[in-house]
Amino acid sequence: MGNPRFGKSRKYVSVLSCVLLFAGLLAGCGGSNKNDSASPSASASPSVSASPSESASPSATESSKPQDKVTLSVLTDNSQDAVNVAKALMDAFHAKNPNITLEMETRPSGSEGDNFVKTRLSTGDMNDVFFYNSGSLMQALNPEQNILDVSNEPWQADVIDSFKQTVTMNGKLYGAPTNATMGGGWFYNKKIYANLGLTVPTTWADLTANNKKIKDAGITPIIGTYKDSWTSQLIMLADYYNVQAEDPTFAADYTANKAKYATTPAALRSFQKLQDTVGYMNKDYLAANLDSGIKMLAEGKGAHYPMLTFIIPTILQNNPESINDIGFFAQPGDNTDKNGLTVWMPSAAYIYKNSQHVDEAKKFLAFIASPEGMAAVGKVSQPTGPYVIKGAVIPDNVPQVVKDMLPYFDSGKTAPALEFVSPVKGPNLPQITVEVGSGHRKAVDAAAMYDKDVEKQAQQLGLAGW
């Protein structure tokens, strides 16, 4: 605007000013969104471990006759682990089926990713195969319209039942597990436990007593990482084994709008337990994120970390020296006899219903759901729990912290987390649990608020009874 030849400079200036600031506004409108995962499972990409089962029965995937070259496109979330797992599966499958080329596309993880997948499906251009959560998140995808029914595939016989129920809707099966399970519970530092003479708690009262002793000894009892707000839900979600142990029909009643968190004592307990942890967390729990929480745990700066076992590979990678100082136990209930583990099911591979390459995609799923596929996955990351494919076993050389989970599985004392058995999960749970965990909201109030929150989800899904 070197030298406007015309007068009325004042006017020009004010208009110009307007424009400049509006440009600022526009620039300002550029929002920014990190992936905020509404649920641990939404982001957790459990790493799966090497099951060196060379003997793996070469599944029905064997490329029988060389056909035309086909390209399958595969969608996975962009966390490093998910990318590694997808790549391992794709490479191993391609090695066996040279005429099928696979192309990977990545998407954001967390709730951003949920939205991405939903948008893709609703606009009718989903990839041939997509990796996505099992359980309620999958049920929210309107599977009957969007996902290919794979109930009658032969490999379903190799999948364990507790996983199957998480990819089932209206009696039809939709996915193949891409990973191992993971547990949701409490990591603890064995050195601190040994120094203070503590024992692994089997009731909530014992755990609270331990926390007191640890705090009195000047150590942070519980690591809080509320910057990643989804991590604040762990205590509440990992309590589900205890909820269903007390009230076995809760999931069904809850889905049918007959049971509420605020009015079911066993369920309300989950929020109360979270409330009990107020005051036991590290000073910067509101600013710490998952990454720093893992570091604190590994470096012994906190005694407990309520978390999913998918962080084990990260510990192994960043702090291999301290992996043996770390143990794991299930979130205790109020009764020693009913102590069991809440389990998160792996995500699954799904076939897009309108895919042009259904046969090849089915082959790929069959490969994934075989011990061989799990072995391929296992080569790129560490185990976080047992597999859900029969014949795929976790190797003996896994760290003790993984083995800490096995007794619960061996004695049958596990239950899938609520989000795998009920489609009802409110989007605001992370915010609500942050408020409870930071002492800004009481458990009863929070439970009622959450009941209100899930209502919208249930209505959006069109569930009966809401």
Binding site: L21, A27, G30, G31, D36, A287, P427, H440, Q460
Partner: protein
């Protein structure tokens, strides 16, 4: 207007703009009034009347959303006016580092918003962040800027001002420099000091600039969540939720009807506050 001029200034000139603007902006805006009253999956919808609006007002975090939106807009707008004016005055005075300072103040407006948000949330970390470690070395124990529910919103507003004050300053510089020399000369003859110069000349005569800053910063503040989102995502809990972030969360959750209803509410909220304000300021400007 005669025929020649009608033909010369034909409305065909408006056609390209009108097509894009009507289809991409006006049409969705009108449609939002309808879809706000549905339960919507993008594929199909169910009409549910005012249910979404009711839900939106019952949502306990929405009350705080209104309040926070208003506080945020007032604070950012106010600070931008004050700092913009002061910087504008300072940067039009006779100083040697004028060009350097102008550039530095303006630069943050060019940086990506998300980058600014990320960088500042690390700087504001309560124990490891640079701000508090510096304060600690001076013996001051700094607050948890983004974690303390009482100040988190103000911390975000501060970053917004940091990024946006450059625009306000440039507007003021333009406004102040367009004040004719004669006024200053007259003041010198009358023997006024620099305070008089500021109070009696610069302040009243940079009125158009002030109006522009107020309107733009205020509307921007009401709609803003771009800095807020990477820094707090509405948290801790719901403490820094503004209407725009609440809408975004409903969108993420897949509640398209509810998100659209939120959009309508934001639209009404902004209109109710911004139209009267802009009318008021414009009237005052004409009086001048």
């Amino acid at each position: 207007m005669n025929k020649v001029w009608k033909r010369t200034y034909t409305y065909y000139f408006l056609l390209p703009a009108a097509i894009i603007y009507l289809i991409i902006f006006i049409l969705p805006t009108f449609m939002s009034f309808f879809f706000g009253m549905t339960r919507w999956t993008l594929q199909d919808w169910t009409y549910i009347g005012l249910e979404n609006f009711k839900t939106f007002f019952q949502e306990s975090s929405l009350n705080i959303g209104f309040k926070n939106t208003f506080i945020y807009a007032v604070v950012t707008c106010g600070l931008k006016v004050v700092f913009g004016l002061l910087l504008g005055v300072f940067l039009t005075s006779k100083i040697r580092t004028k060009n350097y300072l102008r550039s530095v103040v303006f630069f943050p407006t060019l940086v990506s918003t998300i980058a600014v948000g990320i960088a500042f949330s690390t700087l504001m970390h309560p124990t490891e962040g640079l701000i508090n470690t510096t304060l600690a070395s001076l013996g001051i124990s700094g607050p948890d800027w983004l974690g303390d529910t009482r100040i988190a919103l103000l911390s975000v507003a501060f970053v917004d001002v940091w990024k946006g004050v450059g625009f306000a300053t440039v507007i003021y510089i333009a406004g102040i420099m367009s004040i004719p020399e004669e006024y200053y000369e007259a003041l010198q003859i009358d023997g006024g000091n620099s305070w008089h110069k500021f109070w009696n000349i610069i302040l009243p005569l940079s009125r158009p600039a002030t109006n522009a800053v107020i309107i733009l910063a205020f509307i921007g503040g009401l709609r803003s969540f771009d800095i807020l989102w990477p820094m707090t995502r509405g948290g801790p809990g719901f403490a820094t939720d503004v209407i725009a972030s609440i809408i975004y969360k409903q969108y993420q959750a897949g509640f398209y009807g509810l998100a659209t209803a939120g959009n309508v509410i934001l639209f009404l909220f902004v209109s109710v506050l911004a139209f009267p304000l802009s009318l008021y300021l414009n009237r005052r400007e004409v009086d001048l």
